[in-house]
């Protein structure tokens, strides 16, 4: 389980990174926690690696102008701490504890996870659900793609080989938003079998804003639009949540058979997880409303 040979570059500027990517058959090495795994299995055999860890501009995480800006060298573990972004921070920190393990989180990055697009990865579904904006920087400059349009399929995105995912902007959630995240997995060493992400606000008992995302429920991360529609303007009660959760399983999910889960089971489980994520979000919103 040794990687094939590659040329190694460790540039210090964005321009150098972009120039290196233009060389073709090149992979970006940020955390490397999935890339090097695949290289050790030789399922990925790049001719060149661009190690971006020495690019100072790629560090940092800051909130402002209604968004949380995440740059390429922000490790998963950064989200374990309170990143002072209100409900978004709460959501990200409840998600991050489900991502691998502390030593992997110390190296792996959120942007790397987005670019890798593993169907069972949490961040792509978070980005999709929250309508994150993703910057792709290439030889012709930077273009911005909405997360929902970024993911093309398993391990596939619209990023061109010569482009780098240079920034993700996650919208800060309304202050009074409640958030919930629920994951289903076989063991603590496995990927998620399924997971659901919910964020919502409730005014006078009625859901007036909601974002719902599904992990591993289709070939791409899913924003559960149909279920969101079933929630908006409805009372935040058990009937609404259960009904919308069922809609998520039946309409938004598009599961494939897995070795230990039929498509039918997955649709059912999506419903369960979405309902629980919604319940958690409603509770969380209530806690916010109670002046937490």
């Amino acid at each position: 389980m040794k990687p094939t040979a590659f040329e190694y570059f460790a540039p210090r500027t964005v321009e150098e990174v972009v120039a290196a990517l233009a060389g073709g058959d090149t992979r970006v090495l940020a955390g490397g926690q999935s890339l090097v795994l695949e290289m050790n299995y030789r399922t990925v055999r790049p001719a060149r690696l661009v190690d971006i860890n020495r690019v100072a501009e790629f560090t940092g995480l800051d909130a402002g102008d209604g968004v949380l800006r995440v740059r390429p060298l922000v490790r998963h573990r950064a989200f374990e701490r309170d990143i002072s972004a209100g409900p978004l921070g709460r959501l990200l920190s409840s998600v991050v504890h489900n991502i691998a393990h502390p030593p992997i989180r110390a190296r792996g990055t959120m942007l790397g996870s987005l670019a890798y697009a593993h169907p069972a990865a949490e961040w792509p579904a978070v980005a999709t659900a929250l309508d994150a904006q993703l910057d792709l920087t290439g030889p012709d400059g930077t273009r911005t793609v909405a997360a929902e349009a970024f993911f093309a399929g398993p391990f596939d995105t619209v990023r061109r080989p010569e482009e780098l995912l240079s920034e993700a902007r996650l919208p800060l959630l309304p202050d009074r938003a409640g958030v919930g995240f629920v994951e289903h997995r076989r063991t603590h060493a496995s990927f998620a079998q399924l997971a659901a992400i919910a964020a919502l606000t409730v005014r006078d008992g009625v859901i007036d804003w909601v974002r719902l995302g599904l992990v591993n429920a289709a070939e791409r991360p899913v924003r559960a639009h149909a279920a969101e529609r079933a929630l908006l303007g409805q009372p935040a009660d058990a009937g609404t949540l259960t009904g919308a959760a069922r809609v998520a399983g039946e309409q938004d999910a598009d599961p494939r058979e897995q070795p230990h889960a039929s498509a039918g089971y997955q649709r059912h489980a999506v419903g369960v997880l979405v309902r629980r994520a919604l319940e958690a979000a409603v509770r969380d919103a209530g806690a916010v409303g109670d002046g937490r």
């Binding site: 389980m1 040794k2 040979a5 190694y8 090097v36 290289m39 050790n40 502390p102 030593p103 190296r107």
Partner: protein
Amino acid sequence: MRVTLTVNGERRELEVEARRTLADALRENCRLTGTHLACEHGVCGACTVLVDGEAVRSCLMFAVQCDGREVRTVEGLAGADGTPHPLQEAFSAEHALQCGFCTPGFLMLAAGALQEDPSIADDPDRLRELLTSNLCRCTGYESIRRAVTRAAGELAGGAS
């Protein structure tokens, strides 16, 4: 490629291929074979070492990425005079190893965490999350949890 690492306080200049993992550089180039390779895909944690104080999987890093950085392996855990680290004593005292193949990885995982935040052992959930990082096929883990808790107590006692 030429790489300079500081391993257990000792400066090492290595000539390695870019593709050589940190684990192989430590084991074969530095002949520090206490770092074990058991899965080479980052799941088991047997190869865990500290890079700049942080526990990482050395099978998922290339040696070239560590140029100029500090690496600490199980061989560097005991004191300079050979005094065992409290974790080493605790693993033995609590029978937290049988075949011992995963042990260096667990030791370094725990050493990194206790160094960063000794209170982690006071919080069962955080300790559980930490120790879920690595795999052991012999012990069933309970003794490992006990050992880390015991060592944390020793370290806290030593500090006060």
